[in-house]
């Protein structure tokens, strides 16, 4: 597709998501207390957006992923939180 066509199709959606993200970061700034690892993970993922290249979505997902290879001893619970907290101490 032409870039112009893609902008016509998706610009407003992307614009809305960027503003939502900015408002979320502002909201966190206004909050109190220490944030957990997810905020740093999100900021790291945001850094991928400004890189050149065709794999931004993949790189964002990789930056939020557990990079280790071995199965863990036992489940810490059933759910996932969206970012890897690092090796369990």
């Amino acid at each position: 597709m032409q870039r112009q066509q893609l902008l016509d199709l998706y610009f407003m959606d992307a614009r809305s998501k960027v503003i939502d993200l900015a408002a979320f970061l502002d909201r966190l700034d206004r909050g109190e207390g220490e944030p957990d690892f997810r905020l740093a993970a999100l900021r790291k993922a945001l850094g991928e957006l400004s890189r050149e290249g065709p794999s931004r979505a993949k790189n964002v997902l990789l930056s939020l992923s557990d990079p280790t290879a071995e199965p863990i001893a036992r489940s810490p619970g059933k759910g996932a939180v969206g970012a890897w907290p690092g090796e369990a101490k």
Partner: protein, 258 residues
């Protein structure tokens, strides 16, 4: 679709859906014992096909103990022991959705036993890959576990819930890749079409979650509309959303339409 109301069946038929394929999955809570799974498998293979038939929608199912309940290996072994009793039911497509959740040793042990069960009974396999931060590692572990059993042919396995960071490794391994459409996680219609366009593979299908959480039974037809907006031909859309699943599922004689 045990978590959905009949309005969903009606909407799917109205949108042109030809069949529903329902994997055994977590109910949102842990069952208290093997009898709970016996009843669930009975529901998937007996009652639910009858409910869907009222809307002229053929219903098929996959059977397993899901990875979220596989951490309890004693329960999982009991559930595995009753699955063969249900495999001869006419709407059963194979073993699924097996896989991993938090990538634990126990989950992996039970995954290997499911793979053994599928190999022994010559069943198709549907794989659930973990959520979010656990997906990359889990997908690698799952692919390794399947490759470790030479009886399993990759073309008889679909690895579901792929995203941009896992789709390539799945396709490069010769497996089918499933892209699951969800309103909040996994893939949106736009991202799903991006992956399809980038991979140019013939062994990808789209599916929509119809579970007890926020999900959208008409996500596949909505994605077809999105493909049309992007200029995909009617033939290409039909191939992706109908032809490809038909090709994969036709590997089992139990999958019959019309």
């Amino acid at each position: 679709m045990v978590s959905r109301v009949t309005d969903d069946y009606e909407a799917m038929v109205t949108a042109g859906c030809e069949a529903v394929c329902e994997p055994a999955f977590w109910a949102g809570f842990d069952r208290s014992g093997v009898q709970g799974f016996y009843d669930y498998f009975s529901q998937l293979t007996d009652y639910e096909p009858k409910r869907a038939a009222k809307f002229s929608l053929p219903h098929f199912s996959w059977l397993c103990i899901n990875s979220k309940e596989s951490e309890d290996t004693m329960l999982a072994e009991e559930v595995l022991s009753i699955i063969p009793y249900f495999l001869e039911r006419p709407n059963v497509l194979g073993i699924g959705e097996i896989g991993l959740n938090k990538n634990t040793r126990n989950e992996l042990k039970i995954l290997e036993k499911h793979i053994e069960l599928a190999a022994k009974h010559d069943q198709l396999i549907l794989v659930h890959t973990p959520h979010l931060e656990d997906k990359l590692k889990g997908t690698r572990l799952i692919l390794d576990a399947i490759r470790n059993d030479p009886r399993i042919k990759p073309e008889r396995v679909i690895i579901d819930h792929v995203e941009e960071h896992t789709v390539e490794m799945v396709l490069e391994g010769g497996f089918w890749a499933g892209i699951t459409l969800y309103p909040e996680s996994k893939a949106t219609p736009a991202r799903a079409i991006d992956m399809v366009e980038n991979c140019k593979a013939h062994n990808i299908w789209l599916n929509c979650a119809c579970d007890w959480g926020i999900s959208k039974p008409l996500a596949v037809p909505h994605t077809a509309i999105e493909m049309r907006r992007r200029g995909h031909s009617p033939e290409a859309i039909d191939q992706l959303i109908y032809g490809n699943p038909l090709k994969f599922l036709s590997q089992t004689p139990r999958f019959k339409l019309g």
